[in-house]
């Protein structure tokens, strides 16, 4: 996970005193996860950029309400994800997410033969395609938990649901995905 809580607390305290440089450091630290979270929700890079930027501004305005000792990242993600959902809703679009895989090697591939790498790459592509066939609810919880690697608390913040619901929703989504994988393997 990004960031260190102690540093975040110090930056928050400075930002609350009006130190904009401290807040810019917070933005720099979390902009990638913020942008990607918004992208998972909106499916659009332009909307994700606008949502993340707007979310950071809103969070800056709300710094006085940030509870001392709380985790900064879930708090930021909640605001930015909410902004992303609002944008998707106001645009009247359905949720869609087209994730692609990078070409070439990934860590760990180097020790494998080119054939094994190609097979693994093909399997990853098939799995990603199967995730994209799931319902919006299932896609979002899987993308948040595994692709964005958010914690349970952060996933709950990003999706606007209780943490307990994240667990049950994830469990059901994985079961459905597993069924599809098994069906594809036996076809």
């Amino acid at each position: 996970m990004e960031g260190r809580p102690a540093d975040d607390s110090e930056l928050i305290a400075r930002a609350q005193r009006g130190d904009s440089a401290a807040y810019e450091e917070i933005v720099q630290r979390y902009q990638q996860i913020a942008f990607r979270t918004a992208y998972v929700i909106t499916g659009s890079a332009a909307d994700a950029e606008d949502a993340a930027q707007e979310g950071f501004v809103k969070a800056y305005r709300a710094l006085d309400r940030f509870r001392a000792g709380a985790q900064l990242r879930p708090w930021l993600l909640r605001i930015i994800a909410n902004e992303a959902r609002n944008r998707l809703r106001s645009a009247g679009r359905r949720h869609r997410l087209e994730l692609r895989l990078t070409e070439g090697f990934r860590p760990g591939d180097a020790a494998q033969s080119p054939e094994a790498v190609a097979v693994a790459s093909d399997e990853r592509r098939r799995l990603l395609a199967m995730v994209s066939t799931l319902s919006e609810e299932d896609r979002l919880v899987i993308a948040s938990r595994y692709f964005l690697q958010l914690s349970g608390e952060e996933t709950a913040s990003a999706l606007g649901i209780p943490e307990g619901t994240v667990k049950s929703r994830l469990s059901r989504a994985l079961a459905r995905l597993k069924t599809r994988v098994e069906e594809a393997a036996s076809a």
Binding site: Q31, R36, R124, Y146
Partner: protein, 265 residues
């Protein structure tokens, strides 16, 4: 086979995310305590600015085409508008013979394929109008020549009651792409020789464009402006079918176009 959760976790390292913008640079922090509406207005202005720049560029190009004859051909070539602008200036005295080969090959519709072939390439469901039956030709256009989210065109040759173009041999073109209509913007890019009428296609909103429209612009799947040529430069029905923009072009009446649109499935 590794555990499913392990496989999903390993996918994270190989996902090709869009590049993260430098939000810190673009961030103009308000003074604490300013009215809360300011950031919303600024967010909208970013979006409006993108479209405004595209609209300004489009209008400049159109104006240039109208005013400076010597450069018209060159500019039309850049925009793939050559055929349509020549037609509005001076129609040929007699129709040129149709080229041999596929009907859509001269229209830059993308790569010719089949319905199944196109469907296997795009993430959304391609809809076919049952009133026209199976298309005679199918084309698929992928980025960068096509919009993000891809574009599929169904070509119909002779169809009863809808005359085929003497220049293309095509009665109807049905084009489908992922995106959304930006009403103010697309109206500006259509040009002066058209009338635009809002229409309903089932539960969806759309526009009946009568006349000789040449160009249509919409926000593609990534939200970026995308300019597309209306190949037949004739009456066109455009509507947003829940995230899929459908265009039906042909020398037909509004009722005929709406009949085709409502038979999509």
């Amino acid at each position: 086979m590794p555990d499913l959760e392990e496989q999903l976790t390993s996918l994270a390292a190989t996902i090709d995310w869009p590049p993260t913008p430098d939000l810190r640079r673009a961030l103009h922090l308000p003074t604490r305590g300013e009215v809360s509406g300011e950031s919303r207005r600024r967010g909208r202005s970013l979006w409006q600015t993108r479209w405004a720049l595209a609209a300004a560029a489009a209008l400049l190009i159109v104006a240039t085409l109208l005013v400076y004859t010597p450069t018209r051909d060159a500019i039309a070539g850049w925009l793939n508008l050559h055929t349509t602008f020549q037609r509005t200036q001076s129609p040929p005295p007699s129709p040129s013979p149709l080229p041999s080969g596929p009907l859509g090959q001269r229209l830059s519709l993308g790569t010719q394929t089949t319905l199944d072939g196109a469907q296997s390439q795009v993430a959304w469901k391609i809809k076919v109008p049952s009133s026209l039956g199976p298309p005679d030709e199918v084309y698929l256009k992928l980025p960068p020549s096509g919009p993000s989210g891809d574009e599929v065109t169904l070509v119909y040759a002779q169809r009863s009651d809808i005359p085929a173009s003497s220049e293309t041999g095509i009665s109807v073109l049905v084009t489908e792409a992922q995106g959304r209509v930006n009403e103010q913007f697309f109206q500006k890019t259509l040009g002066p020789d058209v009338t635009i009428e809002p229409v309903s296609v089932g539960v969806h909103s759309g526009y009946w464009i009568a006349g000789k429209p040449h160009q249509f612009a919409f926000a593609d799947a990534n939200g970026n402006p995308f300019f597309d040529t209306l190949r037949l430069a004739t009456n066109t029905l455009i509507f947003d079918d829940a995230g899929t923009i459908v265009r039906i072009e042909g020398d037909m009446t509004k009722d005929q176009a709406l009949h085709i649109a409502t038979s999509l499935g």
